[in-house]
């Protein structure tokens, strides 16, 4: 499905994340914003990370990009990009070799973070000049290419950010992320501050880039409907953990985790008369998350087993945690005891 670059097997995931964790230190104790999160992204694939606010999805993006806060308590796990184990790299090498050039991030509301006194074209070309030491002219030529890609008129290169509308600025930020031809682009709520029509236009741009250039995407959002615009796969986060990861077809059609199912029922739909239903209760505090399943308190299907933390099961075949040995081809993971083989008898 992807326009694979030479030298890599198509089946080998581009990004492989194992047991990623990011904990913050606060006065109340450690906030476990990201906890034992494992997933992978193939080349040319778009993974949507879906979750409500405070579930740790933006922290996940920061953990991947190593944009770590000062009150860091713990940052762990193994991350590899292509053949490079990027979690092993020193900060300096990571910044020089991976950040932006191989893996770019578009942060939430970053369209408002453009430098107001630098022309948009120069800002888009900046990563090339800084990271790759390209001469100005060459960098601007490449920037012009990317401008066309994201649907920005070329004369906007000479404009200042305040002369652009929100949608156009968002395109400029996207152009900046794409300019160094990264293999993976992480988008954190790229359209949540935009209007419906602008949002649809930006999603169109992303779809085209994905199809034409084979770029991999991680789209982080809370908006279920918008997420389906780009998703090949969906990973749902709840209270710092991934509770389900599966294909978009499966997730939007017939998700397996009780939280996924309830979340899908809480989404108001335009063309359906069935009323959406709320999920009772609230997510737990990440300061002291429950020892067992973190969704258990709100789950209508909880049983005795839920007092223990569930590993990630494959509801199709039944394999061990993570994506290591024994992982089956289905790539469906559900962190719920309901999907344990033999009722989860061999775990304990």
């Amino acid at each position: 499905m992807a326009a694979t670059t030479t030298g890599f097997r198509a089946e080998e995931p581009l990004l492989r994340v194992e047991e990623l964790a990011l904990h913050y230190r606060t006065r109340g104790g450690a906030v476990r914003a990201v906890d034992r999160v494992s997933f992978d992204v193939k080349r040319g694939e778009a993974l949507v990370i879906l979750g409500e606010s405070g579930c740790g999805k933006s922290s996940l993006a920061r953990a991947l990009m190593r944009l770590l806060p000062r009150n860091l308590a713990h940052h762990g796990g193994r991350v590899s990009l292509g053949d490079t184990p990027i979690s092993e790299l020193s900060d300096e090498r990571f910044r020089r070799e991976v950040q932006w050039s191989r893996m770019a991030l578009v942060m939430q509301a970053s369209m408002n973070a453009l430098n107001p006194v630098v022309k948009v074209g120069e800002q888009v070309a900046e990563p090339l000049r800084e990271l790759k030491r390209w001469p100005r002219r060459r960098a601007l030529e490449r920037a012009a290419e990317v401008f066309q890609c994201v649907g920005l008129p070329l004369d906007f290169m000479a404009r200042y950010p305040f002369e652009l509308s929100g949608g156009m600025r968002q395109r400029a930020v996207l152009a900046m992320a794409l300019v160094a031809e990264p293999e993976l682009v992480i988008l954190d709520e790229p359209t949540s501050a935009l209007d419906v029509l602008t949002q649809a236009a930006i999603m169109n741009v992303l779809k085209e880039i994905k199809a034409e250039q084979g770029t991999s995407f991680i789209l982080i959002t809370h908006d279920v409907a918008t997420s389906s615009e780009l998703a090949d796969r969906v990973a749902l986060m709840y209270a710092g953990e991934l509770v389900e990861a599966c294909s978009a077809v499966r997730f939007f059609g017939e998700p397996a985790h009780p939280y996924s199912r309830l979340l899908m029922k809480s989404v108001p739909r335009l063309h359906e008369r069935e009323r959406p239903r709320a999920i009772p209760g609230q997510p737990p505090s990440l300061l002291e998350p429950p020892g067992g399943c973190r969704f258990a308190a709100r789950c209508p299907e909880r049983f005795v087993r839920c007092a223990e933390p569930p590993p990630a099961f494959d509801p199709g075949g039944g394999t061990l945690d993570g994506v290591g040995e024994g992982a089956t081809e289905s790539r469906h993971r559900v962190r719920c005891w309901l999907h344990a083989p033999n009722g989860g008898a061999e775990y304990g």
Partner: protein, 359 residues
């Protein structure tokens, strides 16, 4: 309708003057431009539009926070512009306002009891026991229980959903006839949104009050409003009962809006959506004629770019400010009008297949 409507807006204009060096008048932002509608008692309506379309200016004018530049708002038959002093204060007690950002709307240094006591004090409820009784009743009505525990809490100790319930309780405590909710759930999580909307709609039904939602999200209003007004660039372009509007949108803008919205479906990822080119116009210098004409796929040269379309009635109870719906225009075979935007050719159909081009 025989009885006087609760609120009636006639030719309402809210313009904000632009000045240079503090005194030169250089134009105006026409946030609300010639808008007329009525709200009946006990009705739930929604004003839907993109950001910058003037929907917040419209409700602020209804609240009496902005004075209309032209036109008037009549409440129970009486013009809002004529109200001053005590009469204006009395009107404000009849309107509840639910803000978008619950945390920003609640003073951080007051506990819930004092937040809810404030409007009662302002509007002359002197008796302390009476205030306490009404505060408790309001909290019970928004289902913030146990009431005892909530009373002493400060806003930051409550979750977003609970904060919004306090805001709703505050809006209801003076027993208003009209509640205006400006994007009441856009700051809340998906799973909490439904609860808040259900709560508002339930209270509206129980008390028989008029509820006006302001939102950008068409998908949520289907279940929580009876009538929808679609705004574009300061004007109401379409108004209709909810199901009629969603199933048979008439105005090209509404159709574009509905075609751009998605219900969660894995197939969405493989098709491009049809989006009209361009962006909403500036409200300082809006285009002549119909404000949507520069983006409209069906714009008629010589008409749409010159004449402002009046409100036509293509279906019973369904208004659309578009020249396509001028009586007689529908018979014109060159400009077919489909009644269902979703089935019209090239509109939210299968679209282009992007997955093919990547191989």
């Amino acid at each position: 309708m025989a009885e006087t409507p609760l609120v009636e807006a006639r030719g309402l204009h809210t313009w904000f003057e632009l000045r240079q060096w503090g005194f030169l008048r250089v134009g105006a932002v026409r946030a609300v431009d010639d808008v007329s509608f009525t709200l009946a008692r006990g009705e739930a309506v929604a004003f839907v539009g993109e950001s910058g379309c003037g929907k917040s200016s419209l409700v602020r004018t209804l609240l009496g926070l902005h004075r209309p530049t032209l036109g008037e708002v009549r409440c129970e038959g009486e013009s809002l512009a004529g109200l001053t002093g005590a009469a204006l204060k009395a009107w404000r007690a009849r309107v509840g306002y639910v803000q978008q950002d619950p945390f920003g709307a609640l003073p951080p240094f007051l506990d819930v009891r004092r937040i809810l006591a404030e409007p009662l004090k302002v509007h002359g409820v002197r008796d302390r026991a009476e205030r306490e009784r009404r505060i408790r009743a309001a909290l019970a009505e928004v289902r913030l229980t146990p009431v005892e525990e909530v009373l002493g809490k400060f806003p930051h100790m409550l979750s977003g959903g609970q904060q919004q319930r306090v805001v709703i309780a505050r809006a209801l405590i003076l027993e208003p006839a009209l509640v205006i909710a400006d994007e009441p759930v856009s700051m809340l999580d998906a799973s909490v949104r439904v609860e808040i909307l259900e709560l508002l709609r339930g209270i509206q039904r129980d008390r028989g009050l008029t509820l006006a939602f302001v939102t950008h999200d068409l998908a949520t209003v289907r279940h929580y409003a009876e009538r929808i007004f679609v705004l574009y660039a300061g004007k109401v372009v379409e108004s209709a009962p909810v199901d009629d509007l969603l199933d048979a949108p008439q105005h090209p803008y509404t159709r574009a809006l509905l075609a751009a919205l998605s219900d969660p479906d894995a197939a969405n990822a493989t098709r491009l959506r049809e989006v009209p080119a361009g962006e909403p116009p500036s409200l300082i210098d809006p285009p002549a004629g119909c404000r949507f004409h520069p983006r409209c796929p069906q714009a008629m040269a010589g008409l749409c770019d010159r004449e402002v379309p009046p409100d036509f009635m293509p279906r019973p109870g369904h208004g659309s400010a578009c020249w396509l719906h001028e009586p007689g225009m529908a018979e014109n075979p060159e400009r077919p009008i489909t009644t269902d935007g979703r089935q019209a050719p090239g509109r939210g159909g299968p679209g282009h297949d992007v997955s093919q081009s990547g191989r």
